[in-house]
């Protein structure tokens, strides 16, 4: 999956229309980033990458890039 595509899916999941979201965007700075958002992200990772991520793994997640690293960078094209 292309990084831009992933960011679009992430934005849709978090219902972010206007804000620019980049790889180095701090997820915790986003308005809609709460416990429900984390559950949504876990669901989309399962759906798009077939990976099961636990909520506690999000303790160390800060940026979009760190989320991509958790998923595995080999899942992403440039």
């Amino acid at each position: 999956m292309k990084t831009t595509e992933f960011i679009d899916i992430l934005k849709e999941s978090l219902e972010i229309d206007d804000s620019e979201v980049l790889e180095d965007t701090d997820l915790k700075s986003l308005d809609n980033y709460d416990s429900l958002a984390i559950l949504s992200i876990i669901a989309l990772i399962d759906e798009h990458f077939g990976k099961k991520i636990k909520g506690e793994q999000f303790k160390n997640i800060s940026t979009v890039k760190s989320l991509m690293t958790l998923i595995g960078m080999d899942n992403f094209d440039e």
């Binding site: 958002a37 559950l39 669901a43 989309l44």
Partner: protein
């Protein structure tokens, strides 16, 4: 003076779904202690066998079935009736958990959770209430719902609605089956210490765990708490109770 034990389940034939672990397993143990013959249904044959072997000796049976495949239910019930006789009661304890925000829900998520939690239970009731399978003296059907079927919780639209469906369906079934002397009730527990609960706890923060514990004035429930309530509803002591939802939540909903 009471000459018989109104809480006895002696010689009652009771089908229990989700019987290989958690609440269902404990129901099997308690029912057998009270004299019932139990017919255990679940997916895992090894676990079912272990549960069956741990029960007080009687005419117990077990069958491996995925409750999503309701078409497999009637042949099993037919075999059970041929082996131990007509059915007196059911406990529908099989269930799946689902924590997913509304925005992430897809149609198949609802279908999956309703299939096991709600539809399988209704199908079980439909089949067992047939005259050829149902004890001539009537019986008692118990559905394990959830306090989440009464209250709401964020991220639980699938699970809450599946359990709410059970609670509402119980009332309709109670009215329809009264003529056959079948009582139909649900039990709505809050969080009970089971494998399912353990899995839920695994995925959440320590703060969230502490918050959940704090919401239970009497602490978390144990499977036997629910099993004792099932035994009451299956026994003659609850003769006049039908169409009810027994809230069993350690005070969770009292606030």
């Amino acid at each position: 003076m009471i000459t018989m034990n109104p809480f006895s389940l002696q010689d009652k034939n009771i089908i229990i779904t989700g019987a290989s672990q958690g609440i269902g397993k404990q129901c099997a143990i308690i029912c057998s202690e009270l004299g019932a013959n139990v017919i255990l249904l679940a997916r895992n044959t090894e676990r079912l066998s272990a549960v069956c072997n741990s029960l007080k000796t009687a005419n117990h049976l077990y069958f491996s079935i995925d409750m999503i495949q309701c078409d497999q239910l009637e042949p099993i019930i037919q075999k059970a009736v041929q082996t131990v006789g007509k059915i007196t009661g059911i406990i529908h304890s099989a269930g799946v958990e689902m924590t997913l925000p509304l925005r992430s829900m897809k149609v198949e998520h609802y279908q999956n959770v309703y299939a096991v939690n709600s539809i399988a239970g209704f199908e079980l009731a439909r089949i067992v209430s047939k005259t050829k399978y149902l004890n001539d003296e009537g019986g008692s059907f118990v559905f394990i719902a959830s306090i989440m079927g009464v209250l709401g919780q964020m991220g639980k639209v699938g699970y809450c609605s599946s359990k709410g469906a059970l609670i509402a369906g119980v009332r309709a079934m109670a009215l329809e089956l009264a003529a056959k002397k079948v009582r139909v009730n649900s039990i709505s527990p809050a969080l009970v210490e089971t494998e399912m609960a353990h899995k839920i706890f695994e995925g959440i923060s320590d703060e969230a765990k502490a918050a959940i514990l704090k919401m239970h004035p009497l602490g978390l429930g144990k499977p036997e708490d629910v099993a004792y309530a099932c035994a009451f509803l299956l026994s003659d002591s609850s003769r006049w109770m039908t169409g009810s939802n027994l809230v069993l939540d350690g005070g969770y909903s009292a606030r």
